[in-house]
Symmetry: C2
Subunit: 536 residues, 2 copies
Amino acid sequence: MVKDMFAEFKEHSIAEFFKKNRQMLGFTGKVRSLTVIVHELVTNSLDACEEAGILPEIYVEIKELGEEHYLITAKDNGPGIPENYVGKALGMMLAGTKFHRYVQQRGQQGIGASGCTMFSYITTGQPVKAISCNDGKRKEYEISIDLKKNKPVVNRISEEDTEEHGLTVISQYKDVKYEKSNKSPFEYIRRTALANPHAAITFKDPFGELSVFPRSIESNPARPLEIKPHPLGITTHDLLEFAQHQGGEYRKISAFLQETFSRLSANRVSELKGIAPDVDFEKSPKAMTWEDAEKITKAFQQVKWIAPSTDTLVPIAKQQIELSFRNIFNPELLVVTERSPKVYRGGIPFMVEVGIAYGGGVAAADKKGEIMRFANRVPLLFDTSGCAITETVKNIDWGRYNLKNFEEEPIAVLVNFISVYVPYTSAGKLAISMESDIEDEIRYAVMEAARGIQKYISGRRKATEIATKKKVVSRYVSQLASDLGSLSGKDSGKIEKKLIAMIEEKYSGPDAEGDGGDVAEEETSHESGENGEESE
Amino acid sequence: MVKDMFAEFKEHSIAEFFKKNRQMLGFTGKVRSLTVIVHELVTNSLDACEEAGILPEIYVEIKELGEEHYLITAKDNGPGIPENYVGKALGMMLAGTKFHRYVQQRGQQGIGASGCTMFSYITTGQPVKAISCNDGKRKEYEISIDLKKNKPVVNRISEEDTEEHGLTVISQYKDVKYEKSNKSPFEYIRRTALANPHAAITFKDPFGELSVFPRSIESNPARPLEIKPHPLGITTHDLLEFAQHQGGEYRKISAFLQETFSRLSANRVSELKGIAPDVDFEKSPKAMTWEDAEKITKAFQQVKWIAPSTDTLVPIAKQQIELSFRNIFNPELLVVTERSPKVYRGGIPFMVEVGIAYGGGVAAADKKGEIMRFANRVPLLFDTSGCAITETVKNIDWGRYNLKNFEEEPIAVLVNFISVYVPYTSAGKLAISMESDIEDEIRYAVMEAARGIQKYISGRRKATEIATKKKVVSRYVSQLASDLGSLSGKDSGKIEKKLIAMIEEKYSGPDAEGDGGDVAEEETSHESGENGEESE
């Protein structure tokens, strides 16, 4: 009987796993699936262009072939893919250049593009067509995945000479649907353009409508440096693995440590030796035991380290967010906060930048309490609840900032999470895991920006209250003047003029003292203006 | 330069992927990680016992070894694991008996137990100890994973004769923490016992405190049948894959279809032939083309099918939910609804059962708007937001059921989602994907149960209002009686008695007519009592 049960025992490939669990790649719902495909293709194009130092020029076209059947063309001017990698890059899951590197990128798993190839294949039976121009050649391929083995099936169908460079992926899908909603490919591309002002993106929708998002800066953002891992982010197992796989290059553990990790100087090694005296730092890294590694990682925790280098993290930047927000919303008030880098999980560097737009165009566009989420400049449109950004922003006590009901206010909050590793909740990369270090930092950043709008809003509210009072008081001025005139026997016209001047003085001008202002403002006013500069 | 970029191109194993992205397996946060481990081990034990037809007896012990360092023992009386499978079952991801089968089970991925082995190894460097008793032998193993290759490393350390059967997994973890919270291993086990009244579970916490959850039924639930896939749940790619891999056993496509899918009789084949006349049903399944498969799956959509068999889905059952709820809460009111099976994604059978407990012990335990989520009897404690159950229950217009503010009412809602395949949002199996067929069915089930409590609550509210009115009116009776006495010259004592009798008649008894009752009640009263029986 036990044997019967185990007769069913089988091994499966990662491709079969994601075929069955395609919701984990974001493939749930016809509309959403289409956006996820565009997301994966655009993300890869941007990463490739930037890594090659090319200003991105991207063209995306969605064409309707039949009912719930679309053809997607995504073309970039990136470096293209050499022939011996093209199959694995587009037709094998967990293969690529991104998974193992400590560098800020959009993609990080080596699943996205192959996930699209899989989804195309299981809904249409068709391979993906890829045209790669590089090294003077234009080569056209048909690529699919052998799902049972997670291996690419590549067929080169043409080759000719070219001067160009870039990759074009042409793929078709069924069970998807184009809609112009809040979560559509159009909105995805619009937000991508917002967070990537150096990219020129053109989008042609199934109705033939062309949207052009020109670039607003003529240079790529600074290339984030690839870093060595920081000692504080290293587990015992990581250290042992590094020692086993890269340790062979070094004679001694001490040299291996200095070369493998960032901020680990000879002085720090001496310090570590003092903290862990029974570890032999002179022996070969290959001879490191679990106990050694455990003692060293424990010692790591006791040393005062310089924080990870900030060169590794490249934000969108204050000026660019302001520019983008003005273009989209032209808000009444705009505050952008950029915090300094922090670490989470002990040693993974990250930073948070926040923009808050209030009133003006935000109100005109009828946006209320809108949260725009980004991770390494990639818009996150789905899985809103369950994301560290949404949950943190919603749980802020907005009353402290004179915004009693966040969801009813004309406010848009942009949060960009930047890191060499984004802890997505699933392989679909749609939401950021709720880890406390990350939530705290998002909270501080949003609160900092919120303080910037608080003063303005309380000022605006006060102004409204003063205007109302002035109106009320003014209504009685004539009567009062004539009464006072009768009583005193003086000219009531003069009295009225004098009274009006008094009212003007009390209720107008920059120093007007209303006795309004609500409790929330009084309580928190000592905090305002500490940080978060107003830019309008 | 392009070549430089691709020098970094690498392939990775699924084990490396989940090591880096361990939050996708639920390993985020020290407290939560510990619960996730208990969840994976208990889930596997229950599945193994039930599949072998054994009444489950499970022992879980958590022992503190040091700071944030624990030893977990999970012992069951299941069938054990034969030697040639034990390594893969506990030390290889995507291997097991569950992934490919169409049968209602708790586990379905072949990742959970190996995920624990990985987490143990990367936090402590220690292998997992497994003791398997089966076929008259007690064998003890040490098991770990080679993460680079996703291959088990197995070391058998002892073997002796035994009469017993079962599996014990002893594993240690660092970076975890035991707390007695809402999301603790204790709460997980308590809820598991609630949904599995046939299981006897004993739990010993790190303080040595023993909690015994005895079984309340002496037989396993009916064993859900393993089914052939239903034609409506089949994509073109699925059909082609079946034809390629299992089609060799049949000479003709017609025979292959009848044997491979459920509800597909000879009559249905004739019907399919009529709808897709240019498919040759007499040729070999191995010769099926994508076009053939596409035409057949399209034809599938046009045939009227009998719904999937209900034998495949085994709910906790009304009586058991009532019993469990009474044990936990002893509520004032209890309604359980069990809906008939439905299908989602075209053809995957599922059903929803819902219990609502109101007042009484729910109020006493200070539970407000509590949602208890289960999938195939497995409690889901984490990722509350972003789960189809939570989102659906919260978005119900509870005002219609006289519960104005769900989150402030003394109410507990249990939802069990039952299916041969649960579409979890991530490999951590913590939340159900928000797919519309599923959300709709959950909504209907909860609303059905809610109608059952609506009448009771409106009755109770009316009673309260009547009592208040009676009290108010009664206050003036003496004065009124004495005034009427003076006016009429009659005995005010007698008048008072008469008035009291009138008040009693108007405001008491089962047919008391208050003129209270709020609008919501009036509007929806025509709906109540259609469904959802009251059981108290």
